[in-house]
Every structure is written in structure tokens, then in C-alpha cells.
């Protein structure tokens, strides 16, 4: 190998001196600092526990759909009793008539946008790290939560109760919808909320924005970056260019890197004023 292997410039007298000087000034890349190692290990643990990053949204929304189906009653309610359940929740649906539009089938009765938050006050098993999963059919909320399936699927528990609760358990969150005090702050709830907002993005961006605002009320949101991305997309679809730019730039200053930031940057670049 020594025969035809290239000689290093730095050791080669025929190499231009300027090049040798430049290369001599070069510094070998550094390794991983302990802080970075710790951070990376934390991230790895998060990734292993909950595949609910931005890239897993489609999977997350599928999981939501899956657990809705699991409850089983939802389907029945969709076919048989959309009308029967509706009257029970008249006040909330009257307050926020937007969101049910597209979601009436999957979550028949309670769909008004602030509703999912307060209803998840049930004895929140922290869904995020432990990976509590889909509720078995036909059980009321409290019991459903105890049936943990050892799978890393954060989204399900948040929504199935939302769909099933009003029908099965007599008024689990009897409090009318807009009392958001005891709110489920689990990652699952966040993911479910954002998944709904994402689904509304195309059809009804304004409703999507409302949901995102609801998410902004979380005290320790873990998916804030994703929320901002969705908000920017929603504003874009609404044609509110300036608001979109402002929000996008605020997001970029807070999360300057990452996949969401990339997308926003592309978006802002595409619509940049000349």
C-alpha cells in the first residue's frame, strides 16, 4: 500500500507551502463532551420510549384512530346514535361549533375543541414514558387507564376516553367543557391534541389554530416546537403572511435547528419579501 498511497501534503516537500501552512493550522475535530453525551443519552431514552416526534405523527394519528376503533363503541355510535348523544353535550358544542365539523364521526358527542383537555383529568397515569396504551373496549375511563399494555404508544389513551366517555360512563367530566383547570398534561394528551390540529390543517386551518392555542396553555409542553410548526402551516393556509412570518421567526429564534425549523425556514425563504 505504501507504494501508491498518496503522501500527505504536510509531509510532502513538493506540496505548495501555503497549503502546508494552512493544513498545519487545522485542528482535528473534537470528540463528544460529557454534556453532549448526557444530552444525547437523554434523547436516546426519549426516542426509545416514545416514538412521538414530529416524524411519527402519522403513526401517532394512526394510533389514535386505532384506539378509537378499539373502543368499538365509537363505530356503533357513528352509525346508530350520533343524534342520541348529541343533546347531552349541547352547551359545549354550542360554545365551540368549529371543531366537530370533521371529527364528528370519530368522537361523536364531545368534540368541541376545549373539551378533550378537561376531560382527561382522570387519574392520569403518566402516559409518556411508561407507554400506557390502548384501552380495551367498553370500559370506562378510570378502568381503561389501568389496563396498560407494554407498548410504546403514547397517543392512544388520550383520545379513546374522549370518544367513549360521554357515552359509557355517565358524565365523567360533568363539568362543562370550558373549565380547563385539572388538565391532562401527559405527552399523550399533547400528541393527541396536535394530531387533531394537524388533521384539521387542510380542511379548517382556523380550527386547527384554535386547537394549537389550546395546546399553548399547557404548562410544560413537550411538543411546543411541533405546535409552532403547525401554527405556521395553518397561518400559511389562511393566507396570513405577516403573522406567519412573525410566528415562524419567533419559532426559529427559539429552536434554531431541528427538522421543524428546517421546514419553517424553507417556508419563510419561499415567501421572503424580495
Amino acid at each position: 500500500m505504501a507504494v501508491s498511497a498518496p503522501r500527505r501534503w504536510r509531509e510532502d516537500d513538493r506540496a505548495p507551502p501555503e497549503v502546508r501552512d494552512l493544513l498545519a493550522a487545522g485542528r482535528a475535530p473534537r470528540g463528544m463532551s460529557p454534556a453532549e453525551r448526557a444530552r444525547a443519552a437523554r434523547q436516546a431514552a426519549r426516542l426509545a420510549a416514545a416514538p412521538a416526534g414530529w416524524f411519527a405523527w402519522s403513526a401517532a394519528s394512526k394510533a389514535v384512530a386505532a384506539s378509537l376503533a378499539t373502543v368499538g363503541l365509537v363505530a356503533a355510535a357513528r352509525v346508530l346514535a350520533p343524534r342520541a348523544t348529541a343533546p347531552r353535550t349541547v352547551p359545549p358544542s354550542a360554545e365551540t361549533p368549529r371543531t366537530p365539523r370533521r371529527h364528528a364521526p370519530p368522537s361523536p358527542a364531545p368534540a368541541p375543541s376545549p373539551a378533550p383537555l378537561p376531560r382527561m383529568e382522570a387519574p392520569g397515569v403518566p402516559a409518556a414514558p411508561s407507554g400506557v396504551s390502548a384501552a380495551p373496549p367498553v370500559i370506562r375511563v378510570e378502568e381503561a387507564r389501568t389496563h396498560a399494555v407494554p407498548r410504546a404508544r403514547p397517543a392512544p389513551p388520550a383520545v379513546p376516553p374522549a370518544g367513549s366517555a360521554p357515552v359509557l360512563a355517565p358524565a365523567p367530566g360533568t363539568a362543562p367543557a370550558p373549565a380547563p383547570t385539572p388538565r391532562d398534561e401527559s405527552l399523550a394528551a399533547e400528541a393527541a391534541l396536535l394530531a387533531r390540529a394537524q388533521r384539521l390543517l387542510e380542511g379548517d386551518p382556523e380550527a386547527s389554530l384554535e386547537l394549537l392555542d389550546a395546546h399553548a396553555g399547557f404548562t410544560h409542553p413537550r411538543l411546543a416546537e411541533e405546535r409552532e410548526l403547525l401554527a405556521v402551516l395553518a397561518l400559511q393556509r389562511l393566507g396570513r403572511g405577516e403573522a406567519m412570518r412573525a410566528r415562524g421567526e419567533a419559532m426559529l429564534s427559539r429552536w434554531p435547528s431541528g427538522a421543524a425549523a428546517q421546514r419553517v425556514r424553507r417556508l419563510l425563504g419561499a415567501t421572503a419579501p424580495p
Binding site: M1, S4, A5, P6, R8, W9, R10, E18, V19, D21, L22, L23, A24, A25, G26, R27, A28, P29, R30, G31, M32, E36, R37, R39, A40, A41, Q43, A44, A45, L47, A48, P51, G53, F55, S58, A59, K62, A63, A65, A66, S67, A69, T70, S133, A134, P136, V149, P150, R151, R153, P156, P256, S257, G258, A259, Q262, R265, G269
Partner: protein, 202 residues
Amino acid sequence: MKARGPGAQWGHAVAIALHPVPAAFVSEAPDVGAVVAEHGDFLCKTLQRCGVREADVPDVLQEVLIVVHRKLPSYDAARPMPPWLFGICLRVATAHRRLAWVRRERPVEHAPEDATRAAPIDPEEAASRAQARARLGRVLDAMDPDPRALLVMFEIEGMACDDIAAIVGAPVGTVWSRLHAARRQFEAALARLRARESRGWP
């Protein structure tokens, strides 16, 4: 596992929700934590070799880990991991460098981290060294990530071609020819830099 694909219908999804995946199936693939523990240093260095600035490494590394996590199930455990990781780092770093704000940013003459490094003995020499380093940075930044990484490994880190071949996942002969190409790119970039400097451009 096939039911998890993007095309999974509700029926599949229900099956997933009701039947936990067998433990053996899950533990088969290595997990990101193990990759970080074993190859963390390598990932950091490779990103820098590909042109990611030191200060940006933690953020870009985050993206790399996401990709690794997503692709681990398709990783063939019989093959060495470094080339696989190298390919991921290369792609992520390339995408990162394409970002408008990274491109627009001028390379920093004195990286803030310099203060924490070994104190320079002679300030004058240190200054000229820093200047040379800044020039080198500009030349390297003008190169494509792939040849750049090779050149850095060979010319700056002084690695053996065999080791480089093991990282890149190519035969040594290929490494040689790619090194030659990388040198030509380096020289061309240096010539452009000189031309700019002679005209007084930044």
C-alpha cells in the same frame, strides 16, 4: 411488524393495539442509546469532518439520532456500523449546510470555544495561526461534505488510508482516488479564495 407501515389500516392498527409485540422482536435491534454510548465520539467527529461547525454539533447530532432511531430497524447487524453512521452523518450534515442561514453565515474567525482551549504561548504566533485556521475553514467550507471529510481525516487528522476506508466503507483504492479528487477540489477552492482576497473581497 409489517402492520406498522404507513399503509396500515384500522384493522391492523387494532391488532397492534391489542397484541403487544413479542419482546424478542423488539430487543432484536440495537437501540439508539447503545449507538450513542459506543459511537458518540465518532458521530461528533464525523459531523465536524463533514463541515458542521463545532457550535452546531449538538443540534445536528440530535437530528442524526432521530434518523438513526428511525433507520435502526433496517440496519443489518452483520455489517460494520461506522460506514452506516457515516452515511447518515453525511446526509444530515449536507442538509444542514444547505440551510440558508448556515450558508450566509460567515465562518467565525475566533470560535468562542477557543478560549477554553490550551492557552497560546506566543500571542503573535497564535494570531497568525488563528488567521490561517480561519482561511482553512473558508476553503474547507467551499468543498462538498464528502471529499471534505476525507481530506480532513487524511490531511489534518493524519489517519491511515485503511482506517478511512473502514469508516467510509469503501476499498482503499477508492479512498485514494477520492482523496485525489478531494485535493483538486481543495486547490480549486483555495485558488478562488486567493482571487477573492486579491480583489479585497471578504
